[in-house]
Structure formats: C-alpha cells, structure tokens
Amino acid sequence: MSSQLVTEITYFVLAIFVGFEVISKVPTILHTPLMSGSNAIHGIILVGALIIAAGAQTPLQVVLGFVAVVLATTNVVGGFVVTDRMLEMFKGRRQPGSGGPAADGAPSSRSDRG
C-alpha cells in the first residue's frame, strides 16, 4: 500500500467525522436547504470531470468528457442557485423586537399584500 493511499484514507476517515459533527444539530426548517447546499458541494466532481476532459483525445474520451463536464456543471450551478433561492425566503424576517406579534393583538401595520 503506497503512502499516498494511506494519506488519502486518513483524509477520508477524518472527513467522515467532520461531516457528522458539522450538522449534528440542525433545526428541521433547515433540513431542505442543507440537503440542497450539500448537494451543491458534491458538484466538486466538476474538478474530476475537467481533469478527464483536459486529456481527451479519442472520440469516445471526448464524448465522455463533454457529458461529464455538462452534468457536473449543472450540479454545481443549479445546486448553489437553488439553495440560494430557498434561503432568500428567510431574509424577510423582522428584526427582533421591531415587529413581532404583540400578545395583546396590536400588530404592526403591515399591509403589503401578495
């Protein structure tokens, strides 16, 4: 077993623990955006797709490289943009204390209609 493989396995095992640890406490409301965000991160396969595309020579390699780059780019771009759109929805929250629902039923004068 080469020392490079040993190093790679080390990264692999440590990354498993980091992956578990980093999201261990997530509120339910963020499950969907988090899934979508991590979905974008595995778009890193574009790095691999570019590596095989760069060396493409035979027609078969060209086709495979091309398809892989298209698929991986779609994963990256679509993944980040769709996650951003989901999270954009959260920004409309009021600042704490400025417009929360008053317990005695005197709400702030919000009148924008959908």
Binding site: I16, I29, G55, T73, G105
Partner: protein, 464 residues
C-alpha cells in the same frame, strides 16, 4: 505546484466545512451557501490553472462548451423552478452529479485499454460506477414521481425484493470479475447499465411522500461516489468534499426519517403508502356524513375566537396561498385573536417546505411553532385551521395500529375545540389513507382551492 495545489484544495475544504456549519443555523444559512460556493469557485478555478497546458485542443473545446451548457441548464432550471417544485429540482441536480462521478470512473478505466486495473484504481472505480449509477437513475425516478410524470404510489410486484437482490448480486459478480479477471470495457459498461437498472428498481417501490428521504439518501450516495472518484484520480478535493457530503447526507437522511417516526429501512423497503385492502380499508367511509360550512360561518367563528392555530400542508404550497394565509392571520391579529402556525416536520413535500413558503410571505418567525412546542396547546385552541394538510393531522397515527402511518408523530389538532379543514375534496392525503377527523362532529369542511377559500375567509372576517 503540487504543494500549492494541496493548500488551495485545503482552503476549499475549509470553506466547505465552514459553509456547512453556517447552513445549519437560520441566521447564517445564506452566507453559508455563499461561502461554500466561494470554495467551489477557488477549487475549480485553480484546477483549470493547473491543468493549463495539458489541455488538448478537443479538451479545451469540450470544457468550455460543457461548462457553458451546464451553467445555462443549472441557472435557468434553478431560477425558473416554482417553490413547490424545489424537491424534484434538488433530485435532478443530485442525479447529474452522480452520473458525472460514474463517467469519470468509466473514463479512467477506459484509459487502461482493457488491461486490468490495479487494486488502488479498481476498487474505487467500481464503487463510483455502481453508486454513481444508482444515484443518477434513482434520482431520475424520484424526479418523475414528484413531477407527476409517473404515479407517486409505490410500484410493487411479487418477488420484487428478490429480483432487486439478484440484480445487486450480478453487479457484485461483475465487480469481482473486473478486479480479478479482466479489465475489458464490456465488463464495466455492463456494470454501469445494471447499476442504472438497480437505481430505477430501488426507487420504484417507494411512495411519493417518502421521496425527500430518498433524495437525501441519494445525495449521500453521490457524495460517496464523488469521494471514490477522488481515490481514482488521487484528488484531495474530491475525496474530502465528497466524503463530507456522504457523511452529513447520511446523518441528514436519518434525521428526516426520525422526523416521520420511521426507520430508514422502513422507508426504503416498506412500500409505504401502498393501497391496502385491509378490513378497515373502504367499507365504513362511504356512509359517514361530513359537515361542510360556508365561508361566512367559518369567518365569523374565526373572528370571535381567542386563539387560532393554522396548520399548513402541501395544499397551501400547491395553491400558492402563503400570502392569503398571512393576510387572514394579520386580520385576525388586528381583532385581537392570537394566531400561531403549527409546522409539522414533514408537512409539504420536504422538511422545512412550509417554513420556506411562509417566510416568503413574511410571516414573522416567532409565529411558526414546531410540533413539540405547539402540541400541548391545542386544548386551549378555539379553532385549528388546517390548510391543505391531511396525513400530518390524522389521529390514526396515534390510535389504529393497522394504519400505515401508525406511530408517526402528528399534530394533535383533534384536541382543539373546533377543526376547520380547507381542502379541495374528500380525497385522502399523499399517504393514500382515510382520515377519521374529517368525519368528526367538531370538524367543518370548506371545500375549494386553498387560496380562494382563504380569500373568502378574509372577506368574511372583515364583514364579521
């Protein structure tokens, strides 16, 4: 150069981890996504620089064209998609990543032109092809089910598990042949085709309501396939980022199925939501009476309540009624009614679906109550207003052990003094089972599109 590359990839990995951390809490979530995107840009940009002169002319052409086309598909698809269709969009973006991982491994094996791969290349290649292929095809089926291109109900036939098991066995045999006997392309191409078949066969028997869990699992699969491609290419960035997603995705899948009160195994192999011809099935529903109310009656009842709890469900999303529901809530608050929203963890098609929709309509965060928080309060609630939800309030989950949803935590709206259902029809919910609460004497139905009904209720409350 190699050392610099290692540091750049390390920087990208750190940005991914920090990004995921931020994504786990509401205030920083959006920034977290941006941080991760920055990491991605750095990793990809640096890769292009390093590859620099090694690009063949054809390589330049396909890279530029491929990135351009993928960017257009991804950006346009993500921008155009309706909020209600988000889940299937995520499935699609996940599937293409799995497909890319499988193709990277196929390309590397092809470079050996038929000679047998060594252990270090062979094992991760096999893994990337199988798992990436399953993820690609499985995500496509998940997309088709959620997009209603095909039926959302589980497709089952006798001996299905056996057939799927045999399929998996043949794939394993091919993997062994590839590693121990011959590296001929026909072997790994056959393996890829069978992996695609298995992906389809694996998702077919799972009902549409369980798709979020499946998508999350396939997301973890793609992460692992990407990590495997990293081992094939000896690329640190792929290994670390792929593994991060594989691990966090697996945990997230567990959290999601926990939220439904079921095990992952039950979700995947339980053929949940199958139409069951049990003794409790049809018989008793036909002759029971339902109380349908007018918008005016219900509006008056709401206007003179002290406390109203709104329970949103998928119907709210379909009708795009989030602004209408907020208008009603604001109106009631002005009259001194206490209004809260009860959010079931799996209301809608994905966890968090309702929060995203209501946040879009600027519903104050503090009014959104999670299930555990709100369940004790229904006894003091005058009206529970159920907008397009069904399974998540079905008391059968507590009371009838024979029911497919038995054991799932539900919102106890049946404990409130009155229940109002805004529903299009008497049709059962996504799980395909009848809800006794609809026939309860204290339940009033208001039939119609959720947005129309809410608009009528707003008018009625104004008049009251």
């Amino acid at each position: 150069m190699a050392i610099l590359t290692a540091f750049v990839y390390l920087l990208a990995a750190v940005l991914f981890i920090v990004g995921l951390k931020f994504l786990s809490s509401p205030p920083g979530a959006r920034r977290g996504n941006q941080i991760a995107a920055l990491g991605m840009l750095i990793a990809i940009g640096w890769t292009v620089i390093v590859l620099g002169r090694t690009f063949t002319p054809a390589g330049i052409a396909i890279s530029v064209a491929g990135v351009a086309i993928g960017t257009v598909i991804g950006a346009v698809g993500a921008r155009r998609v309706q909020m209600t269709a988000m889940p299937q969009m995520v499935a699609l973006f996940n599937g293409v990543g799995g497909g890319a991982a499988a193709l990277v491994a196929v390309s590397e094996l092809l470079r050996l032109s038929g000679s047998q791969p060594d252990f270090q290349t062979g094992v991760p290649s096999v893994f990337a092809i199988i798992v990436g292929g399953i993820s690609f095809a499985g995500s496509a089926v998940a997309f088709a089910k959620l997009q209603e291109l095909m039926t959302g109900t589980p497709l089952t036939y006798p001996g299905q598990q056996l057939v799927n098991g045999l399929l998996a066995l043949v794939i394993v045999v091919l993997a062994v042949v590839l590693l121990a006997v011959t590296g001929q392309p026909v072997v790994f191409v056959a393996m890829l085709v069978l992996a695609l078949l298995l992906g389809v066969a694996f998702v077919l028997p799972i009902g549409g309501a369980d798709m979020p869990v499946v998508i999350s699992l396939l997301n973890a699969f793609t992460g692992l396939a990407v990590a495997a491609s990293g081992f094939v290419l000896n690329n640190f960035a792929l290994i670390v980022a792929g593994t991060l997603v594989g691990a966090s995705g697996t945990l997230l899948t567990k959290l999601m199925s926990d939220a439904m009160g079921r095990s992952i195994g039950n979700v995947l192999f339980g053929a949940f939501g199958q139409v069951q011809a049990g003794p409790e099935g049809g018989g008793q529903t036909g002759d029971r009476s339902v109380r349908a109310g007018s918008a005016d009656d219900i509006g008056t009842m709401l206007a003179y309540s002290r406390k109203v709890v709104i329970v949103p469900g998928y119907g709210l999303a379909v009708a795009q009624a989030q602004h209408a529901v907020r208008e009603l809530a604001d109106l009631l608050e002005k009259r001194g009614v206490e209004v809260e929203y009860a959010i079931h963890p799996v209301a809608g098609r994905m966890p968090g679906h309702m929060n995203v929709l209501l946040a879009e309509a600027n519903v104050p965060y503090e009014q959104l109550k999670e299930m555990d928080e709100v369940n004790g309060q229904f006894q003091n609630t005058d009206v529970a207003l159920v907008v397009g939800a069904n399974d998540v309030v079905n008391p059968a989950a507590r009371s009838s052990p024979g029911s497919p949803i038995y054991g799932m935590p539900i919102l106890n709206v049946d404990e409130s003094r009155n229940v109002v259902f805004l529903k299009r029809s008497m049709r059962p919910g996504f799980a395909g089972i009848d809800n006794d609460l609809l026939y309860d004497p204290k339940t009033i139905m208001l039939f119609g599109d959720a947005k129309d009904s809410l608009t009528r209720l707003v008018a009625a409350v104004k008049a009251a």
